[in-house]
Assembly symmetry: C2
Homo-oligomer: 76 residues x 2
Amino acid sequence: MKIKTSITLSEDLLTAIDERSQQFKNRSGFIEEAVRSFLAQIHKQEVDAKDLAILNKHAERLNQEAEDVLGYQLIP
Amino acid sequence: MKIKTSITLSEDLLTAIDERSQQFKNRSGFIEEAVRSFLAQIHKQEVDAKDLAILNKHAERLNQEAEDVLGYQLIP
C-alpha cells in the first residue's frame, strides 16, 4: 500500500531529483528507489560491522592459528 | 532553502524509514541523506560508464600497445 506523506527537502536536492525523476516515473518513484538503495547500504554496513566485531573478538586465537599453519609451510 | 513537498511511498518503506530516522533527525532528514547517497551513486555509475566507453573506443590500439610492451619482457 502507498501512503502519502509530507517532507521538507533542500531546494538543490529537489532540483536534482526532478532532473532525473523521469527515469523513475516521478519524484516519489525516485525517492522510493533512493531510500531502498540507502537501506540496503545501511544493512550491509551493519552486517560488515558485526563480522568485524566477531573477527576482532577472536583475533588472537585466529592469528595464533595462522602462525601455526605458516609453520608447516615449506619451499618445495 | 528547505521546500515542503508531498510524496507517496510504500508502507513498508515508511516503516523502515521511521525505525531509523532518529539517527537522521526525522523522516525528512533520512530521505535527504538517502537521496544524496543515491545521487552520488548514480553520478559514479555515469562516470564509470563514460570511462568504459573511452576505453572501449581505444581498446584495439591499447591492446596492441600492451602486446608491444609485453614483447620487451624478459625473465631476468
